[in-house]
């Protein structure tokens, strides 16, 4: 048989090989140690140089060709085998994966963090005080005399207990006693000389009141600035800056109305302009009704004023030297207005469905660079 026929015969067998094993058998038959082609190669040694020059390239060419074809066929067979395996390993990827439980941060906590951020930028430290307070810090020092209506049993939760100074103990009705504690601390530390103060004091407060819009426990944030030349213009600027930063829009108008709080003089209630969009009250805008129904207008959001000189004096500082402003604001209400919750009672119910809907992801930490609510800059 001439070499060409041998070669063609092997090529046909390689072509027909169904698996790696039969392919390997063909390789052994052809180019294995004792393969047909290998044996032919060995005959080259006995040939004359002339014959070898002719037969050498032919036999070697056949060997190379067969080896290449076998390699190519092997690769094809391996690919087919892998594909078959992969096809057999197919999973239904629409089946659910194990779920990572995601928790949530309460909107009140989120808003407290937002407030802390806003006021940190203005240089306000965060101050705290006890919730079980004495009546001197909660009332008397704040220039709320014993006969003031706010002291009535009706509003204030009292304990039968008295402290070592025979002061009546109660649940603080506002965060304002933190003003007293802060100013007294400063007076003590500076020996009555005083120093500038800028604080906010967020926290729980209590009043004996329970209906659709009042809960016996709620949250307030107090602000206090004491310095030498602080006036109501600074108060107005601070509140404007705070409200605009908090609600994340610049078109918010503020209206100060004269009012009365025993611990400030002059006192002002602060209204914020709102508009109505899609049936909801939106803080800011042109204060016009947009939906044909309710009109925009003014909404009261906080109380404020210049700290009453008597309060400064009660804390051991000289009211002729130090003056400043204070304000107080309901945190729960701020959260409701910003994020559109309408039921205060749900804040304190612990309903998981509510928490998942209105709560915040753990990693949504309010930052000034990201926009407090994490929306980033406007496009």
């Amino acid at each position: 048989m001439d070499i060409e026929n041998i070669q063609n015969d092997y090529l046909a067998r390689v072509e027909a090989a169904a698996d790696i094993e039969s392919l390997d058998a063909i390789r052994v038959d052809a180019i294995g140690k004792k393969g047909e082609i290998s044996l032919l190669l060995k005959t080259l040694g006995k040939m004359t140089p002339e014959e070898r020059n002719v037969q050498g390239p032919i036999i070697n060419g056949a060997r190379t060709m067969i080896a290449d074809v076998i390699a190519a066929r092997k690769e094809a067979l391996e690919t087919a085998a892998l594909n078959a395996r992969l096809a057999s390993e197919r999973l239904d990827m629409s089946l659910p994966a194990p779920q990572r439980h995601s928790g949530s941060v309460h909107p009140v906590s989120q808003v407290m963090d937002e407030l802390t951020e806003i006021f940190a930028d203005l240089g306000f430290a965060v101050a705290q005080g006890p919730e079980v307070e004495d009546d001197w810090r909660n009332f008397t020092a704040l220039n709320i005399p014993e006969t003031h209506p706010a002291r009535a049993m009706h509003d204030t939760f009292y304990f039968p207990d008295k402290d070592a100074q025979e002061r009546e103990m109660l649940l603080r009705t506002h965060t304002s006693p933190v003003q007293i504690r802060t100013m007294m601390d400063v007076a003590k530390r500076t020996d009555g000389k005083g120093e500038p103060i800028r604080i906010i004091a967020p926290g729980r407060t209590y009043r004996s009141d329970s209906d659709a819009t009042h809960t016996p426990m709620f949250h307030q944030v107090e602000g206090l600035v004491i310095d030498k030349a602080i006036h109501m213009g600074h108060l107005k600027w601070t509140l404007e800056t705070f409200v605009r930063a908090f609600f994340e829009r610049d078109d918010i108008e503020l209206r100060l109305r004269p009012s009365y709080f025993p611990f400030t003089e002059p006192s002002a209630e602060v209204d914020v302009g709102f508009s109505v969009e899609k049936g909801k009250r939106i803080i800011g805008g042109d204060r016009q009704g947009k939906e044909g129904g309710e009109n925009g207008g003014w909404m009261e959001i906080l109380g404020s004023g210049m700290v009453n000189p008597k309060v400064i004096e009660n804390c051991g500082l000289d009211p002729n030297e130090w003056q400043g402003f204070a304000f107080g604001c309901g945190i729960d209400r701020l959260a409701m207005l910003k994020y559109g919750m309408d039921d205060l009672r749900a804040f304190f119910d612990g309903d998981l469905r509510w928490a998942r809907h209105y709560g915040f992801d753990a990693h949504d930490v309010p930052t000034l660079s990201g926009g407090l609510s994490g929306k980033g800059a406007a496009a």
């Binding site: 659910p96 194990p98 928790g103 949530s104 941060v105 906590s109 802390t116 940190a120 203005l122 430290a125 965060v126 705290q128 919730e131 079980v132 005399p145 014993e146 006969t147 003031h148 209506p149 002291r151 049993m153 939760f157 009292y158 304990f159 207990d161 402290d163 070592a164 800028r198 729980r204 209590y206 329970s210 016996p216 426990m217 310095d227 006036h231 109501m232 213009g233 600074h234 107005k236 600027w237 404007e240 209206r255 100060l256 109305r257 004269p258 009012s259 003089e265 002059p266 006192s267 002002a268 000189p309 008597k310 304190f348 119910d349 612990g350 309903d351 469905r353 709560g359 915040f360 753990a362």
Partner: protein, 837 residues
Amino acid sequence: MKFTLSWLKEHLDTDASLTEITEKLTDIGLELEGIENPADAMRPFTVAKIISAQQHPNADKLRLLSVDDGSGDQWQVVCGAPNAAEGLVGVFAPPGTYVPGADFTIKATKIRDVESVGMMCSEKELEISDEHDGIIALPDDAPIGMSYADYAQLDDPVIDVSVTPNKQDCMGVRGIARDLAASGIGTLKPLGEVTANILSNTVRVEPVETRNAQDPSTSSGRTGTIITDLEGLDIRNIPRNGNGPDVRSEDSDGCPAFYATTVKGVKNLPSPAWMQQRLRAIGQNPISALVDITNYVMLDHGRPLHVYDMAKLNGNLVARKANAGEEVLALNGKTYALDDSMTVIADDDGAHDIGGIMGGEKTGAGDDTVDVLIECAYFTPESIAKTGQKLMLTSDARQRFERGVDPAFLADGLDIATALVLDICGGQASEMTKAGTAPDEVRTINYNPNHCSTLGGINVDSNDQVQILNALGFGVDQASDIWSITIPTWRRDVVGSADIVEEIIRIKGLDKIAPVALPKSVTVAAATATPLQVLERKLRRTAAASGLNETINWSFISEKEAALFGGDWVLANPISEDLKVMRTSLLPGLLSATKRNIGRGASSVRLFEIGRRYFKAKDGSSDEKLTLGIVLSGDKMPRDWQSGKSSNFNPYDAKSAAQTILSAAGVDVSRLMVMDEAGSHYHPGQSATLRLGPKNILAAFGALHPTAQKAFGIKGDVMAAEIYLDNIPLPKSRATMRSSYAPPSLQSVKRDFAFLLDETIEAGKIINAIRGADKANITDARIFDRFAGEGVPDGKISLAVEVTLQPRDASFNDEDLAAISDKIIASAGKFGAELRG
């Protein structure tokens, strides 16, 4: 405080519109609460005449009326009123009219088969009075077709403003008028002119004989004519006869001044229509002329008064402290037991009147009253407030006295009331008795006009300041740079320069304040939160990131819950029994929320709260401890297609939760001691504390005690943990530098050991022993199998431990490994653990 526009204009001469007035009220600190015009509801009602009245064919008591309402048409009305006779002029309402007193809208209908279109109305149906026996009968000359609202002059808007506690002067219409005048909205009319005007309004209803006998100038006895001698009366020159009543005050603290006048021979009929209308418009029920007059003067001038029927008194009236336990039957029909701090007005029979708060039922004026004593006293605000609070009794008089009425307005107030009584009820006035002195001394304060801008933030011209202050009744002496300001007697609240600033800027308008930026803080890099606040913020987000949902629960719990969890502070006046004791654990609130969630169908509950626990410190002050509480209940993993079943939380999940929080707080959890005494609300065998040293408990965790679980009505197992944030050591240094570190160059080696040990030996002890066996080389030891049963003797367990060894300078050789291994076996052996063969 309510008043009508016409009432305001009695004191205020103004062309301003209603809107201008109401907006200005809010601007100057008298916040508008509402405006209502009673005429609005009365517009469809018209004055109409009954042209004919015939018997209804099918009903004895009904009549068929033909009514002319001036529209040109005549209406057929079926009417049952006994006085519905031909010729009567009354008030007609056509179909479609809403009738406020009956709360329905009239429709054309058939009554006993006869068509009835519209209705003739009673006073009750128009909410004029409770009179419903017949339909309204107007004078015959009432103009047919006129709107009843116009006829009855109801078109007088009612304005409601909220008066802050410092503005005692605005508890009367005149004070409000004064504020408005100061703000440029009009001119305040002189008091004499106002009084004269009111008196000239008044039409005597009937002649009064005693008065006629003594005062011939009014002897004509004209019915329904103006009493001319009182027209334009100077209230300081009231005709008087006889000594004033013998009244006195024995309680100079509670009632330093007691003024009184008697008027004898009065006739206490209903008060004049104009007065009734004003009272009714602001929601007061007219009672009788004498009572209405005192109410009117109170509302007009903020000056409460009281009238006594002299026939019902025994002896002289005296203001004194009540005897302890003394009772008064007040005008509201209730009896109040008083204590000896309270002031009463009494006669020889005893106390009649809770001084300055409410008059007594026994001695008040009635229809048959002939001789009256009018009381005008000054009660001390603090005393009134205390008495009112103790008795839980509020009244218009209390509201005014506790804010402080004008101490210089006793005589004037009494004169105005006396003049009105003489005018309306007739009679003869006595001299005025003035017992005691009200604290009406004139006060002055120093004021630097620059304070207006340095405190109030508005630069107001000196002349403007003076003008505003004068208009409000303040005197200004500008002799030096520092002004001397005289404070009007009706402004008890004004005590310092800041108050003067407030008066000026509120009248000027707070909208004039220009915002001024706060000076930039000097310290740029200072943190504004304390280390504990920073920790709280971080742990809140750690908890949320680990799958827990944050809740905020009441700080107070029920006594029943407190019995399980403890409580130092118990409210004297809780809003409900469920919210009574300040919590000393966060778990009750979390457990209640868990119960509610399970009730709503939640299958897996993972809640946390960060809040305070409330303890009592030794000095009686509050010791509040910041704590993070966690509750896990229901499915840890829900049923799913891979495992085919759900798994529940177990106590180690609670431990894991606590450790996750503590790790985030920077605590090396592996170094904590695991000890008992988690608390009696935990399962005693499935709970523990994590401690940093024997006394510093950082956390408690475990399965809830079945008793506690039952108390909260939760069916499935509940795991809980509390992490005591204030026990976690906070970083002492603010340095940012870390200790230096280079990863080891050699690979670590792991070796496994299996021990047999008594099942009573805590695995944690073995692990701690192994970790400590060779600290230079052993970096970790962890349990990967725990087994009891086949192949393990009874009472023993098999514990498999993987130990990580870290070579430092050179790799371990066989001798090194053997030596370490011996140390490990020996350390475990101290607890009786034997290496398994």
